[in-house]
Symmetry: C2
Subunit: 479 residues, 2 copies
């Protein structure tokens, strides 16, 4: 049974998702088609994602900068594959300052073109390389079917853009950032992911190679949670991004770009939440715990509130984000349900008996397990509970995913498995676009990722056409 | 004499400003008219500003959220004064997804309209009030004459938007945020400001009252560094933002909005920098100190680099942001000039003699004063130096401003003072728009701010028309 107003997952996964987003006040539809409003509860999660990931991006030597929202229309048209991919999704400013513009401006759908045109001004010689830049920004892609967080016309993201002296360095960077995303997904978001290469049909418009991380949601579908592109010299040649080599020749730079977006908030919800509401991994929870004081009489009230105030003070001193919910108009039970809905990782209960025994009760949001801990050790106990919960969420998601990622060796089995909407298939693929297309048409599944590790090599035959295949790839239906 | 490539302030203030922005690599012009690129050195300062101010905004009970970039054109037109003020500056999206839109979308120049339309969905009763929201976002105002950081077509800012049950509460909020801005300007940016009311001709399009903080730049001109608006019920009535009162009536909410922008980076530069380059107050400096090792022989090199490594390690442990500049291809003197250009607050020099004597040299960026400190006390000495420098920068700016803010009692003196381009005049004003307009036409000066404190009351006669005046106001030429 779901909490008040939440459709159970088993009944209608899509409605369940929308109910959580609305009831936990994470986001709302706006009067502008396909654009969302990120409400404070949702934005606070995005801020935690930003903080965690920004640190990893800086630790790997990148610096933040900011480039214009508008891109001259001609820029987008210069790289042939790029415009082919993005043309259908562009929003275009034709008038400004009361006049028609000489050249229309595109609202950035991604910033390769404007950024590499600036890099061309800044890079002169090999001494200026590598150039390692990231920006946090909003982008716009005109989408027909939108869904809060998962696919919206405007979304927030970070996009990294780098320039290097060699192809090899660019490939190393592309893989480094894929690994940063994998680590962030698994260690912060508690979501296990498959990391690997995209097939040609799924790669970024203008890239030589696109890598991605893919997570499994609770309905068995895949969510692409981050991408990292090796752009080769495609954009460098288009925007004259050249440098003088150590031996005085001129050469084009090698570029990479990589990004994750507010879609991650959707991944968090669909990866961990339940029929009671939101579940957030502690490392990304804006609030660590809520303290609910319990009392009946006025006398109890005074004593319990004083007890609670001491606990709160100690937890704040230990650097936790904590709130005491002392509202008079609601019962403890009502409060429990509300904070469960909002996904606060731990609830601390303190009543007259707890005071008497000198302990408090910690209740975990995910499995609702209870723990009595001595009052004096409350900070350590809370820290330990949060760490355990973070680990358990990851292990639970991993077990779920592993159980639903199965090897499949015949096309009949493959079709049956995809029709059952259970999860991912690990099946051989010959590398041909025709087989990929046939699967997509007949089962709606796509190749989520091609594992690139040496250990993934395994001789076999394509599940579709029977031709030789060097490895199994991950197939699934995707958001 | 200025550093290499920097025009001295005394020669051409405007060129000096541009030179600093370019040479310190703070920002660059983009291929899009009036839009700037904020380069890593400039963006790092903006990140420090965001961190400091975001904390103050949250401490006063506000939550961050995010609203759409696009606003339906009809929304902007609903509030009469609002559209009159913003119409000439709008950028308009007319086409998207390959088709002409039914209703054009305006790229937000400010978000009152879209935000209060959402508040109307969320606010039902007095229990939902106050609603205290802030957003960090980009906005677009089509400007004819642009200048990096000070006035650009697109800029980054924060805009706070709140809804209250009473006029009084809204006024209290408006003044609270004005005070937050004053504190931030003075304690973080080390820029003394005049805080007060704007005259009717300068108030925000749609506001009942606009307050601002005004700083004096080194050329004696005023820079409006932040505004806080009491919007009354203007927008609430336009967007049906109503609430049920405790006694079951329906009433319109009272709104406030307030913002500061990337313009603050320009204020920092023009407020503190010199002919050697950028000067940043330590609290907003991305890097606290740079360590320059000095040596001649290989033997010295090994010993000094080891000495420097120990110092760096200790300073990092003490939580400073520090970088050792051990580049072989540059001399210490060259490095000094480069880091002075970039505005790092403290330079630490360590050579063979310093090693021998067990001390290091700290050199302040602002006055280039030298201090020899014992190696073992380096962290404390650095902390103290940074704190002193922060205080001194403020005091210096205050002395400069106070000296150039003079009482003026005749219109002849007023015109002479403004013609001399020295600074601000404190002169009586009758409150009439005619006198204000006359001054603007004849001297280019405007009323920067009307002091509202009780102590500012002083009977006098208008410097322009001679009519009775209750107080002196601050006049100046503005950016």
């Amino acid at each position: 049974m779901g909490a008040d107003g939440i459709t159970p997952r088993g009944e209608d996964f899509s409605r369940w998702y929308q109910d959580i987003v609305q009831k936990a006040e994470l986001a709302d539809h706006s009067p502008v088609r396909g654009c969302m409003v990120i409400r404070p509860n949702g934005y606070a999660i995005w801020e935690k994602i930003q903080q965690g990931l920004d640190r990893l991006i800086k630790q790997t030597g990148h610096q933040n900068a900011y480039f214009p929202l508008f891109i001259p229309e001609s820029f987008i048209h210069r790289e042939a594959e790029h415009i082919e991919g993005f043309a259908p999704e562009l929003a275009v400013v034709t008038h400004a300052g009361g006049e028609k513009l000489e050249e229309p401006l595109v609202v950035r759908p991604t910033s390769e073109t404007i950024i590499y045109s600036m890099f061309a001004k800044w890079v002169q010689s090999y001494r200026d390389l590598p150039l390692l830049i990231n920006q946090w920004a909003n982008v716009v892609r005109w989408e027909m079917r939108t869904r809060l967080f998962l696919r919206t016309t405007e979304f927030l993201w970070q996009e990294g853009h780098t320039a290097h002296a060699t192809d090899e360095e660019a490939e190393t960077e592309t893989l480094q950032m894929l690994e940063v995303y994998r680590r962030f997904a698994e260690e912060w978001m508690a979501l296990p992911v498959y990391a690997g290469l995209k097939s040609d049909s799924e790669k970024f418009a203008g890239a030589v190679r696109t890598y991605s991380i893919e997570a499994m949601m609770q309905d068995g579908k895949a969510l692409q949670a981050g991408t990292s592109h090796n752009l080769g010299q495609n954009f460098a040649k288009t925007f004259e991004l050249q440098y003088q080599t150590a031996d005085n020749r001129m050469d084009y730079c090698w570029n990479t770009s990589w990004g994750v977006s507010t879609r991650l908030v959707g991944a968090l919800i669909m990866g961990h939440s339940d029929d009671k509401g939101l579940v957030i991994p502690p490392r990304l929870a804006p609030l660590d715990a809520v303290l609910v004081p319990i009392y009946k009489s006025d006398e109890q009230r005074t004593a319990v509130l004083e007890y609670a105030a001491g606990i709160e003070e100690e937890l704040i001193r230990a650097d936790f984000m904590i709130r005491t919910d002392a509202r008079e108009q609601f019962t403890p039970g009502w409060k429990y349900a509300e904070w469960e809905m909002k996904g606060v990782p731990v609830r601390i209960e303190a009543g007259p008996k707890d005071l008497e025994k000198g302990h408090v009760v910690l209740v975990r949001r995910d499995d609702r397990s209870k723990r009595f801990v001595p009052r004096d050790g409350v900070a350590d106990a809370l820290r330990e509970t949060l760490e355990t919960m973070q680990r358990d969420l990851f292990e639970k998601a991993r077990a779920f995913r592993d159980e639903r990622t199965i090897p499949v060796d015949s096309y009949g089995d493959f079709r049956d498995y995809m029709a059952a909407d259970r999860g991912f298939a690990r099946a051989h693929w010959c590398g041909g676009a025709g087989c990929e297309e046939k699967v997509k048409e007949e089962t709606k599944a796509t190749i989520r990722t091609v594992p690139v590790e040496e250990e993934a090599r395994e001789d076999g035959t394509c599940v579709v056409c029977g031709a030789a295949s060097p490895r199994r790839v991950i197939w699934g239906k995707a958001y």
